[in-house]
């Protein structure tokens, strides 16, 4: 009986499918066939006597093989040497006891391979036929790094120029300050590399790190590609068998807490035309915990992709920003939530309002079935696509071991994703979305945005380093202090007004190192004419000369005409001490405020030049000297801010001159004074226009 039914059914099916083949119903989207089974291969694994755990994912589709070694250690608090751990990793590929960096580069390129190192691992890949050579190079890097002194110096230099470039970058500021707000400065996730910490790093620090942590007993090696487990085992035993284990230090850190009450952390950045907004706090969400998948669904709906609520609201609907998103991360120590966007100054408070109302809405109302289905499909699709890379399969196995996940964590991932309900998502929102306990970090122009942000909680001010300060302490200008008195103090600090009045000319030469090149900056002024020149290795790159009437600017051999409005400023620029002549030349200047410049209080004086361009000059409260100047220029490419900092004043013939100069015009340059001459004999042709 049963078999007859079966027969009948199969005939019917055959009929139905023939019919279907003959005619496709184009009017609606075809239904999917049965969900495919996702098979996640179980890697072949073994452990060496020294504790090295090895995972082999065989995949012979292409004749390639990749070795990826990762170390599992507790995060390290680097304190006043922040950055040394990362440098130790970068130094590994900069030469070994057997090969210089150039030799290493040449040998890696020769076999068409790639080798990258970091502080927690090493990645090497090549075609299968070169695997023995690859293994030789990889193990040479791993076991015999030379840590050359000059390479550390190069790295430090690169890091410092990177820091200089990011010092004033609003996104870097947000990222650094966010860390300190969310995790605290005494947490490894809360510290960041600074110019001071880079200076403190020594070769011994890097070596010690390497010697302590590059040990097999905390190492996981994934081998992926065109290799059999047997071959792999032989290769690894031979090459890694003698690697000696060691005692690895462990560390524990206090659990960071979300703020008791939501407040605004404002980093006041005067040059900002956009505010970077981060609504952020720590969450206790451990890798592999039951909540992780449900929380991922929640975040996908809130701010995970293009169709997320935040993107639809802030970008599509309100057009406040090019992109708004959120992340809800799980971690071994402590996870975090962040919702972020960059928006125009004038909509900063409106954007924060929308962020906060989306956070509240999702905790009270939850999500819709349609949103839930779309989020699940999107996550499942991206999970499936990620499996295409055999590297993913290896990382699943290693994560399972490192985080002690259940053996079926990844194989049942999609099942558990499918099981997530509307109630689950709402519960996750109530647990992890905390609009009442958030740091609302805003990096932006305080003058424009602070007032509007008060509605979200107390507005606290933080400096570039994440230290809170009270702007009120600085804001109140003491009785009797005016722009004029600030200038008088400045003249006194420079050497006295009397003295300055006797200065007829001055010549200064600074030297700067830019990407390893030495450039010279010369400035000559005689109260009537001026000359500025930038040169490199004896070649003039740019030169501008003003003879009191005419001006000529030459850049890389080409003459650049000077716009008429700029010409209006030339007379004042030719003065050795322009401030002495503000009143006589009707230059507008007014005392705006007292600002905090990374811990130093300074008078901010706004100066308006004849051309209409403005600058804000900062005069140190303590010394009276000018320490910083911000100039906003209109260029065809839009407004541009040039920052100059004046440091370490030294005296020359009774006049103080800054011996350090930092100029940032999108590209930071640090210059050191080489010579300064006051009332010197100038060559006749110095202001001659040729």
């Amino acid at each position: 009986m049963k078999s007859i039914v079966k027969l009948y059914l199969s005939v019917l099916f055959a009929l139905v499918s023939t019919l279907a083949f003959a005619q496709v119903d184009r009017t609606k989207a075809p239904e999917p066939t049965a969900a495919p089974e996702i098979n996640i291969a179980k890697p072949y694994s073994f452990t060496l006597k020294n504790g090295l755990k090895v995972y082999v994912v065989e995949n012979h589709k292409l004749p390639r093989v990749a070795f990826s070694l990762s170390l599992d250690r507790d995060p390290i608090l680097e304190k006043d040497k922040a950055g040394y751990v990362s440098m130790a990793g970068q130094l590994l590929t900069k030469g070994t006891k057997n090969r210089t960096k150039a030799e290493l580069d040449a040998e890696i390129d020769f076999i068409g391979a790639n080798i990258n190192a970091s502080s927690t691992g090493l990645y090497a890949t090549s075609l299968t036929k070169h695997k023995d050579k690859l293994m030789e190079l990889m193990t040479d890097i791993l076991f015999n790094p030379a840590f050359p002194e000059d390479e550390l110096e190069k790295l430090k230099k690169q890091t410092l120029s990177g820091l200089a470039a990011s010092k004033d970058d609003p996104n870097s500021i947000a990222s650094d300050v966010r860390g300190t707000l969310v995790y605290g400065k005494d947490h490894p996730y809360g510290e960041f590399t600074t110019e001071e910490s880079v200076e403190n790093i020594t070769l011994a620090d890097a070596k010690k790190y390497y010697e302590t942590y590059f040990k097999p007993n905390i190492a996981y090696l994934a081998i992926v590609g065109d290799i059999t487990p047997k071959e792999a085992e032989k290769l690894i035993k031979k090459n890694f068998g003698k690697w000696e284990k060691g005692n690895i230090p462990t560390a524990e850190y206090a659990m960071p807490k979300a703020p008791e009450k939501t407040y605004v952390a404002l980093v006041d950045r005067e040059a900002s035309v956009q505010s970077v907004i981060n609504v952020t706090y720590p969450v206790d969400l451990k890798v592999g915990s039951d909540d992780v998948i449900k929380a991922r669904v929640l975040n996908q709906i809130l701010g995970g992709g293009f169709s997320s609520r935040l993107m639809q609201n802030l970008r599509e609907d309100k057009a406040f920003t090019y992109g708004a998103r959120s992340s809800l991360s799980s971690d071994k120590l402590v996870g975090s939530f962040t919702a972020s966007a960059s928006v125009r100054n004038e909509v900063t408070d409106s954007a924060v309002y929308e962020f906060m109302s989306e956070l509240k809405k999702i905790t009270t109302e939850g999500v819709t079935q349609q949103e839930l289905d779309a989020a699940k499909a999107s996550i499942a699709g991206s999970f499936a696509r990620s499996l295409e890379s055999p590297q993913t399969v290896a990382s699943f196995a290693i994560n399972t071991a490192i985080y002690n996940l259940p053996a079926d964590y990844y194989t049942n991932y999609l099942k558990r994703l499918e099981a997530v309900t509307l109630e689950d998502v709402k519960a996750m929102a109530q647990k992890y979305i905390l609009p009442g306990n958030a740091n609302i970090l805003v990096v932006g122009k305080g003058e424009d945005v602070a007032q509007g942000l008060k509605q979200f909680g107390e507005v606290k001010y933080f400096d570039r380093k994440g230290n809170e300060y009270d702007p009120k302490d600085n804001m109140e200008i003491p009785e009797g202090v005016t722009a004029q008195t600030v200038m008088q103090n400045y003249f006194a600090a420079l050497g006295g007004k009397e003295k300055l009045m006797t200065v007829n000319n001055m010549k200064m030469v600074y030297e700067a190192s830019v990407q390893g090149q030495t450039i010279n900056l010369s400035f000559v002024k005689n109260n009537t004419g001026s000359m500025q020149e930038v040169s490199m290795m004896g070649m003039v790159i740019t030169k501008s000369v003003f003879d009191g009437e005419n001006v000529k600017v030459v850049q890389q051999g080409q003459e650049i005409p000077v716009p008429d409005d700029k010409k209006l400023d030339l007379a004042i620029d030719a003065k050795v001490f322009p401030e002495l002549h503000y009143d006589e030349l009707s230059i507008g200047y007014e005392l705006k405020s007292i600002d905090d410049l990374n811990g130093k209080s300074a008078y901010a004086v706004k100066v308006t030049m004849p051309s209409g361009s403005t600058s804000t000059d900062y005069f140190d409260l303590e010394s009276g000297l000018k320490i910083k100047s911000l100039t906003t220029q209109k260029t065809p490419a839009g407004e541009m801010t040039v920052t100059q900092e004046f440091k370490a004043y030294e005296e020359f013939d009774g006049v103080k001159v800054p011996s350090k100069l930092s100029i940032n015009q999108g590209m930071p340059i640090d210059a050191t004074l080489k010579s300064a001459e006051v009332n010197t004999d100038l060559a006749d042709d110095v202001f001659l226009i040729k």
């Binding site: 184009r26 999917p32 779309a374 295409e388």
Partner: protein, 442 residues
């Protein structure tokens, strides 16, 4: 001693390439009655499938008065069809957990979806709807015109160095359609009537101009059957497909110019005319670019970036195309650096290649790098589907996915020297200096 070493290299190289050839990308291909070419690659490792269609139409097929059409269609054809409502095309894909994209070159236009493999039919439905009866109306044209404007703003106008290709192209070509770039002219798009868009669609979006390439978790027979169902009854085109046969005359003297752009750092770009893709000389030129800028030990990188620190970046990029394309050298000087000085150093490296044969060791290094890159190109289903389609459309030989490497391996050291002398000459190039707008004459 050196001679002996060379000999060993040759033996090893021979053995290696024999080994490498064991790993073949297997595929099946066939034509439907209406002329659609179909290529199927089965790999059941991961439950995903890539469904793609390549149309043999690019910017070079455009009317010089209507440039930007091919690329505009890449946008317009997401507007829906008789059975797909406006704005729904992408939604079907995201709701199925898939991703999709499209791209246009001088020579062809390519559409693809990456879907869970149980959604193969969905991909076929969407793509066949696009070919059979896409929705081309005034609303769609106007919407997409705005999107393309925004794209041009982002990718060309506001992108540092984003105008390089168009600035080079209009100086390097005088008559060939490569003189305009795929983004084309917004004025042309504004001026075009709906009929002109319809006509373009009916001319180029026809079965005989389409290659369907599918890669992933499929069953060959079932996939073949489904492709026939969805694409089999699409009628052939009525117009003849225009294929330009314009030959660009030889450039007789160097062209030089200065461009002011929204950039912080100046740059120097040299563009040399090169032969069409697939020719022996084009393979030699591609290997030459690896000699100059493939990896940290490559000549230009090591000398100009690492040792002399004259440049932050120097790269050689061959833009191979169906008709003779361009070979670009791009140099970014270190801050304060001088463009002329950098250009002279780049020329010096090129001249060295003309004066001396590269060493056997360096040659072997380049062969190894090229082989590694070639093989690694086939590591994803997306890559395989597109390569199969490209090889069929350009060369009529999809199997080049397996053996094009032989053409690279046939290049000799002498070939590299010869092509350097033949193509990398002063008279055969366009040189542009890119300078920051702040330095522009007002």
């Amino acid at each position: 001693m050196i001679k002996k070493l060379n000999f060993v290299f040759f033996i090893l190289a021979a053995v290696f390439s024999a080994q490498a050839q064991n790993k073949q990308i297997e595929f099946k291909e066939f034509d439907l009655d209406n002329g659609i070419h179909v290529i199927l690659h089965q790999d059941n490792t991961t439950p995903i499938v890539v469904v793609s269609v390549m149309y043999h139409v690019g910017s070079k097929n455009e009317n010089p008065e209507r440039t930007g059409f091919a690329h505009f269609f890449e946008h317009l054809l997401f507007e829906g069809s008789e059975n797909i409502k406006r704005g729904e095309f992408d939604k079907y894909i995201t709701n199925a957990g898939g991703v999709n994209n499209a791209n246009t070159s001088n020579d062809r236009t390519y559409y693809y979806e990456v879907l869970p493999s149980n959604q193969l039919k969905l991909g076929l439905w969407l793509e066949s709807e696009r070919l059979l009866h896409a929705n081309i109306d005034q609303v769609g044209v106007e919407t997409q015109r705005e999107v393309v404007k925004e794209e041009k703003r982002q990718r060309v106008d506001n992108q540092p160095y984003g105008s390089i290709l168009s600035e080079i192209a209009k100086r390097a070509y005088t008559v060939h359609p490569y003189r305009w770039t795929t983004i084309g002219s917004l004025d042309h798009l504004n001026a075009a009537s709906l009929d002109e868009f319809m006509d373009f669609y009916e001319t180029f979006y026809v079965p005989e101009n389409a290659t369907v390439s599918i890669a992933g978790d499929i069953n060959m027979d079932e996939a073949r059957e489904l492709v026939e169902q969805y694409f089999g009854d699409i009628p052939k085109g009525k117009n003849e497909i225009p294929r330009p046969d314009i030959v660009e005359p030889e450039q007789k003297e160097e062209v030089r110019d200065t461009i002011y752009d929204n950039i912080q750092l100046p740059a120097v770009i040299q563009a040399y005319h090169m032969p069409e893709q697939g020719s022996e000389d084009s393979y030699a030129l591609e290997m030459l670019s690896t000699v100059l800028s493939g990896g940290q030990s490559a000549r230009m990188y090591k000398s100009l970036v690492d040792e002399q620190q004259k440049a932050l970046q120097v790269v050689a990029i061959p833009f191979s195309s169906e008709d003779p394309g361009l070979y670009l050298l791009f140099g970014l000087p270190t801050i304060g650096g001088n463009l002329k000085d950098l250009e002279e150093s780049m020329d010096a490296e090129v001249n060295k290649l003309k004066d001396e044969l590269i060493t056997e060791t360096e040659f072997q290094k380049v062969r190894n790098q090229v082989e590694n890159d070639f093989i690694s190109g086939n590591s994803t289903m997306t890559g395989i589907a597109e390569s199969l389609a490209n090889y069929h459309v350009y060369f009529g030989d999809a199997n080049l996915i397996n053996n094009e490497i032989d053409r690279y391996m046939a290049v000799t050291r002498e070939d590299i020297q010869r092509v350097a002398k033949k193509y990398l000459t002063k008279d055969n190039r366009v040189v542009l200096y890119y300078l920051p707008k702040s330095q522009q004459n007002n």
